[in-house]
């Protein structure tokens, strides 16, 4: 019984030893050593944090850990000859790890500087071993290497510019959100991967606000007062624009000045058809621009049921206004009032 337990223990120890010898680096000068140094340094920084040492100690240990991780992973990829289309990926991965470390702690919008710096940091990862020897004295590499480094530097600057261009486009879209709602099929620069959910242009919100205002002003009002309201069209347009401006004022963006609200009543039988327009005067895919249209029907109705029993004659003929608006806001090319406002394009 005791002998059985002992053999079991010995077996376990041998197994553990095998496992350890698999984990141990074959030589001291190898990438596994560097990864272990990184792990050790990281654990030490955790320990330092637990012991509440100075921020400098923690930062130094964490920095050493990150740098060892970058070196170790790069070394591992290089020694395993990791290639993507014949290009060694080790410096790019090392550069990515270094960028994560350098910019990841910034918080907020850290991805932008990290991605923009990535090609340049990767170039530094390639260049430093060629330019610096182990004792930190400057090396002078042969001309062929120098030529290659110059080429690589220009290439990484180009990659960095592309990333920066991408982020510039995102800034444009943040400033002018309605641009996303347009088609970029004709562009020679940008491409949108199909299948994305595309936001509605801001004009839809403006039309909804205008509809609410219209409902307050004319819905369920006596018909004569509605007729009077319609006499002062320019004044009502002013009020409508004022309302939209005050309601969207909290989330003001650069594009608000490019939307213009307008409406026009057209007589339709007894009542009117009201056309509400949100007109976009900014950059657009179609040469003549576009506008969004909401159609509302304003009709007089007799409300027989509401009449008092002994009402005087003539009272029963009083008509009330009823407003019904379409939910959809179709997007139409051009300008609702012809070409006058936009000029020739």
């Amino acid at each position: 019984m005791v002998g059985g337990l002992l053999t079991f223990l010995r077996q376990t120890l041998i197994e553990l030893g095998n496992l350890l010898s698999n984990l141990l680096p074959p030589r001291y000068f190898s990438w596994q050593t560097v990864i272990y140094m990184s792990l050790f340094s990281w654990l030490m920084s955790l320990l330092a944090r637990l012991l509440a040492t100075t921020a400098f100690t923690i930062g130094l240990l964490a920095t050493i850990s990150w740098i060892c991780l970058a070196i170790g992973v790069g070394w591992a990829l290089e020694s395993n000859k990791a290639r993507l289309f014949g290009i060694p990926i080790a410096p790019w991965v090392s550069g990515a790890i270094l960028c994560l470390f350098l910019f990841g702690s910034w918080g907020g919008r850290w991805l932008q500087p990290a991605l923009v710096a990535w090609p340049l940091v990767s170039f530094a990862v390639i260049a430093v071993p060629n330019l610096l020897s182990w004792d930190f004295s400057l090396k002078n590499p042969p001309p062929a290497v120098r030529q290659q480094l110059a080429l690589l530097f220009c290439l990484s600057l180009l990659f960095s510019s592309w990333f920066q261009f991408y982020f510039r486009i995102q800034t444009w879209v943040r400033n002018y959100p309605s641009l996303v709602a347009d088609s970029v099929e004709n562009s020679a620069f940008v491409y949108r991967i199909p299948g994305q959910t595309i936001a509605l242009p801001a004009g839809v919100t403006h039309l909804t606000i205008a509809e609410e205002l219209l409902r307050e002003q004319v819905d369920n009002k006596p018909w004569p007062s509605v007729e009077r309201w319609l006499l002062n069209l320019d004044g009502q347009r002013q009020v409508m624009r004022q309302r939209v401006r005050s309601q969207t004022g909290r989330t003001t963006s650069l594009e608000d000045s490019l939307w213009q609200l307008d409406f026009q009543p057209l007589s339709n039988g007894d009542g009117y058809t009201l056309k509400l327009w949100a007109i976009w005067s900014g950059p657009a895919a179609s040469p003549s621009g576009y506008y969004l249209e909401k159609t509302c029907l304003l009709m007089p109705v007799n409300r027989g049921g509401l009449l008092p029993e002994n009402s005087p004659a003539g009272y029963s003929t009083t008509q009330w206004a009823s407003l019904t608006c379409d939910l959809e806001t179709p997007r139409l090319a051009g300008h609702p009032r012809g070409v006058g406002a936009r000029g020739q394009v």
Binding site: R146, A150, S161, F165, R342
Partner: protein, 196 residues
């Protein structure tokens, strides 16, 4: 759907610009390498390397200049640039009338700026490649320093002599690549290949 979320997070990407620019860069590098090889009597490999380095340098500096200038331009002109990048056309605003003039002036300025950068870049590149590796022993440093001064003086004299064929070669190369790029852009805009 997480993939869809990721895609809409990525938004509009300048993939066409990257594809186009890679294509045009290759055309320009090959053409310029041909001119440099003929005019400066360089080897095939050397001329390709020179042309690639110079074109990449000019392109990336051009990007830096564009990105810096775009940030400080007036709003109306910026929105014209946005319109051109996203929709491949300008739209009607206060700049519409002067835009053709602006485009032509910018194009001519870009040509001479590129020419200057390429010429200067070629000088830098030759300087970078012309140095010999340094011995670290003191005597060797002394000797090599003297040699280098002499060489530098000689190189300066040679440079003055050989400056004009180099300038001419770079000018020809630049003109050729600009013409080719312009023809390609016109063709693409004519046939609507952009709509792929």
């Amino acid at each position: 759907m997480p993939l869809n979320d990721l895609l809409s997070e990525l938004g509009i990407m300048p993939l066409r610009a990257i594809a186009f620019q890679s294509l045009l860069l290759m055309v320009a590098i090959v053409l310029e390498a041909m001119v440099l090889r003929q005019q400066l009597r360089l080897g095939y490999r050397t001329s390709m390397q020179y042309a690639a380095t110079l074109n990449l340098l000019a392109t990336s500096l051009g990007w830096v200049a564009f990105l810096a200038a775009e940030a400080v331009l007036p709003l109306a002109l910026r929105s014209q640039i946005i319109s051109y990048v996203l929709f491949n056309r300008f739209y009607a605003n206060s700049w519409t009338d002067v835009l053709p003039v602006v485009v032509v002036v910018v194009a001519i300025a870009a040509f001479f700026f590129t020419y200057w950068i390429k010429l200067q870049g070629l000088l830098w590149l030759l300087q970078l490649l012309g140095q010999k590796p340094i011995d670290t022993t003191p005597e060797a440093i002394e000797v090599s320093r003297r040699q280098r001064y002499q060489r530098a003086r000689r190189v300066q004299v040679e440079e003055q002599r050989s400056d004009s064929p180099r300038a001419l070669a770079v000018l020809q190369a630049n003109a050729l690549s600009f013409t080719a790029i312009l023809v390609l852009l016109l063709l693409v805009n004519q046939t609507g290949v952009v709509g792929w």
